[in-house]
Symmetry: D2
Subunit: 338 residues, 4 copies
């Protein structure tokens, strides 16, 4: 932490800041310069609110030096994290596909999708039983009945299940079915929910909030890890910007800095990221080339009649094409699709 | 709803779209033009996902005509909503101040603040017992003990209480103390929570999500209203933009369109909106001039030692100055501060 | 400038950074801490590109301490700047109205507008002879003929003229007519144009770029001032965000920090900021309350038939109402409308 | 164009809108629906400002149906545009590399770079003689001397030159040296400059504005094409968002919609897009996979001593590695690097 004083700051003002730092139990280090003084701070800085010093007289600005996350940080834990699942592992070297419908609509479509995915060598299926919808008047998911359908598909086909948890009430139910618990973009900072899954034995797929900085996203991961659950998988799904050519702005450029700052694996969801099925394959290939560890992607046996998000879902045939393009691209990149 | 066909769309493609609309139980109205055909749709459009039509061959784009919210809309309910509370009413003509600390820290400071506010003619106090914090390592609020303190302050001073609800678990506890239940910016689309407070008898203060459009915000209000709770108060608190001169970009320009599209009252939170106490008074006055129905504002007996957000809190003296400036400004605007 | 080293940085890496700083002719000040070392830098830092150090091995991040602008900064020049014009002065204490049509359409409407404004006590008229339009197929302004009309209106009514300069070719022509030269939002970083007006004897109204940070805006002002023209007036006109309820997001919250960091006067353009005449008066009043030094506002004798931006222009009657509301509000704020 | 009436609009209000449309020389088509009336408009809509109708009483909103650009649109011109240059062609099927330093610093480094690029099979070199810099106090480019150096490098090595034009004054000088004239992000809506290069015989590389929507970008291309210069190459270089993990947010997701809406080739600039050399290779590979037609990329013989933007420049060795990775990736994508 560094306090930068105004060039006109008086010695008294500097002394006042120094004293305030000492009162916090921290150590001030004044650094007089030709035009102004800066004051370095050492000690356990995480306990203070930096802005408290910022409003003292003579202070120009306050600069934070260390990152507030620890467990999620590569500084603290250099080696890449691999999230190990019954049939597959998510992490560098492999490129993991998680595919399936936006919502569980009925047993038949889930079984068809699970069987199709197994034939294609895909080991994880997504599908929502609880759906966060922006309108109270649209389909909200099948709830427990949807979870039961997923459980039967898992049992019948051996496919792993990724499904969203929206509230703590359903945590036990979702956890008993899911191989990975998904936390959606609107809940990235639902701290009660994060604390709940931090005690779960199941890995957590943490979608980036619509307007979350990389630091806020890693802080959300830190919540899960601080409770003891170290199996966190990040998932970029598009952010909110002025740009209106797609539903969201898929931020592939977050992948290199996320890999640089954290050891956690990162997936990309090109379906929500673009909102349009025609744009999904290009973004899926780009995610692989950009260094992502896998995809979360929407497919549907009959997208034009899907109950939600059909417009961004691939049909089976388009998905098969994409998968084969991914296989061709993975080889020169030294990755294996799984 | 309007489907705009590509200028090269074939008659077969147009016919296919017409048929798809009919299959949805809706009525298509083809409108041939000089360069392209558009197809109007009438019927109960709210049941369909517009993007389903968008991906049919020959379709250029799909344009939604009606708003998805009803109860929150001024079209359905022309008269302004007034939220009536034991000691005051929120709505046009008055300008309601809700002031208090970010977090309940101890009984003494809450009592001091409540008494000070009553002396100033302020009838509602804010204060968080449950705090959403971006780091798991910082002060998370006193929880139930904080609610108890608020309840005692209410009983002793007669001040109304505004406090945040973060999860459904604590809904009963918060509801029993609060005169207004606050839903924070990170929970604006926590639909489980919205559904829970939609069954509450207490009014709901709904903060705008950090990256929420006005429509999404009104849809969140619709969730609360659809469950039967019509006492919703909107609260603008700054949005997330590229702009880095303040903590958030306080969007005062949302007030006129919010008033135009909805009958709900709207408050402004200049404390979170700016993040810096020096900028709070100017934005508070601007909110009044812009047509807001009140303020949610942070004050603290000793901001420099606050456990959270001290840098954006006014001390009592600054608040008193602001209040008197608000009184002077309210008169020519034909409003009464309460 | 502060270089923050990685917690695992080796002594060699630290030494390498120290040496790199010395090679730049600057002085390094290593500050060893419990978990990492930071290195302060003093000297003429403005000559270096900070990111050059950022990529050295072991460097975590690089933090800039001083602002890159000098002449525009309040640190260098504490007293408020007043821009003095033949009939009025722009700066704190007064609230200056600049009103008029988006574009000069013909002599009759300009004369009518100028006479109307003079009757209302307004001393500055805006009107574009050269119009930046996003489509090459729409009305681009009358050019020199438009300037001639403005010159005649000035001569006849004594009103001051504010008009936009789009390129260096027309600099002499615009300068000979304008009392204030306007630089539009799309040209805020047209550095050739900024350099040209930096040699002009006329004040410059510098609109904020659509996606400009406050620092970039002040740097653009610095370009004008560095050439010797100290009469710069800032003008906020809305920025580009995800928010879609108005044409742009009018950022009134930039006013307090702009006043804090710079001594230059700042106006607000609520017409472009909102894009809708119904929303203009509320934002004009809010700008006054927020501490702005005046308004740039579009009015038109017959907005529904304007050649450009009619939808955001007030007619004379609405403007008169707004003006009287501004007068009522100015008094308790201790300002004079001029 | 579609005018949507308020559900409470009176027959008189509807008639008034119909009349206003007729007065504009256009044809109104009223479409009564169960809850409201909409009015379609046909005719030469490009001449009107849509917002003029929007403010008539009873109008809820106004919806534009056709795109304002024509020449840049794929609807008008289905086949892909190929920009043919002396040594290479930019367009689908090939992936064109344009590499070189941010700024021309001296003859020696330009010659070294040109020779290195020719050895690597790269046919186009970038390098700025005129530099748009946000501070007036930093290196602004060598100007005409820089152009002379580029001309000699072209003559000696046969490499094609891509260099930026910042103002109309230098148009002839830049045009005589450049094989492609670059228009920078800050000048995307410098309409005087666009008009000037619209009369040039040289192709134009049009960088996307920092906050430009895809439509505004294509409208800027339309300016160039409307003047007769059809050889426009788009270049994505990152946009301005709330996200702070990189200098800009590189928007690779604009590639599929740009290809869908326009026939123009599109390049990606991962150097400005990320601002950090470590992140450049991943984004370069992702651009190729996403369907871009090439790269604009910064390299420097000695990045740590570059006069500008060294932190985002690759050195020769890193560039060679990237190039070989691009070759490996191009093959399965059916593209040729040139």
């Amino acid at each position: 932490m560094l306090v930068v004083m105004h060039s006109h700051a008086t010695p008294q003002q500097i002394e006042q800041v120094v004293a305030a730092i000492r009162r916090m139990g921290l150590t001030p280090h004044p650094l007089p310069g030709p035009t102004r003084t800066a004051i370095g701070i050492t000690g356990n800085i995480s306990v203070i609110d930096p802005r408290t010093l910022e409003v003292l007289p003579g202070v120009l600005e306050l600069i934070r030096v260390t990152k507030p996350y620890k467990l999620a940080s590569r500084e603290m834990h250099e080696a890449d994290t691999y999230v190990r699942l019954p049939y597959t592992t998510i992490g560098p070297g492999t490129f993991t596909i998680i595919a399936g419908p936006c919502a569980v609509e009925n047993e038949e479509m889930i079984l068809r999708t699970a069987e199709f995915l197994r034939q294609q060598g895909v080991n994880l299926m997504r599908g929502g039983a609880f759906k966060p919808r922006s309108s109270p008047y649209t389909f909200q998911g099948l709830g427990q009945a949807g979870l039961d359908i997923l459980a039967r598909a898992r049992q019948r086909t051996g496919i792993g299940i990724v499904t969203e948890l929206m509230d703590t009430e359903n945590a036990d139910a979702v956890q008993s079915v899911a191989d990975i618990i998904q936390i959606g973009t609107r809940n990235m900072q639902n701290f009660s929910l994060l604390r709940r899954v931090s005690h779960s034995s199941k890995p957590v797929l943490l979608k980036r909030g619509m307007a979350a900085t990389l630091e806020e996203w890693l802080m959300a991961a830190e919540y899960v890890m601080a409770g003891g659950n170290y199996n966190v998988v990040l998932c970029e799904r598009g952010v909110r910007t002025f740009s209106d050519h797609s539903r969201n702005t898929l931020d592939l450029s977050v992948i290199p800095p996320a890999k640089h700052l954290s050891h956690l694996p990162i997936l990309v969801d090109p379906s929500h990221g673009t909102g349009k099925r025609d744009y999904v394959p290009a973004m899926a290939l780009a995610a692989l080339a950009a260094g992502a560890d896998g995809l979360l992607i929407e497919i549907h046996p009959d997208p034009d009649h899907a109950l939600s998000d059909g417009a961004q879902s691939l049909n089976f045939e388009s998905f098969r094409c994409l998968l084969s393009a991914l296989h061709r691209l993975a080889e020169p990149l030294g990755k294996t699709i799984n």
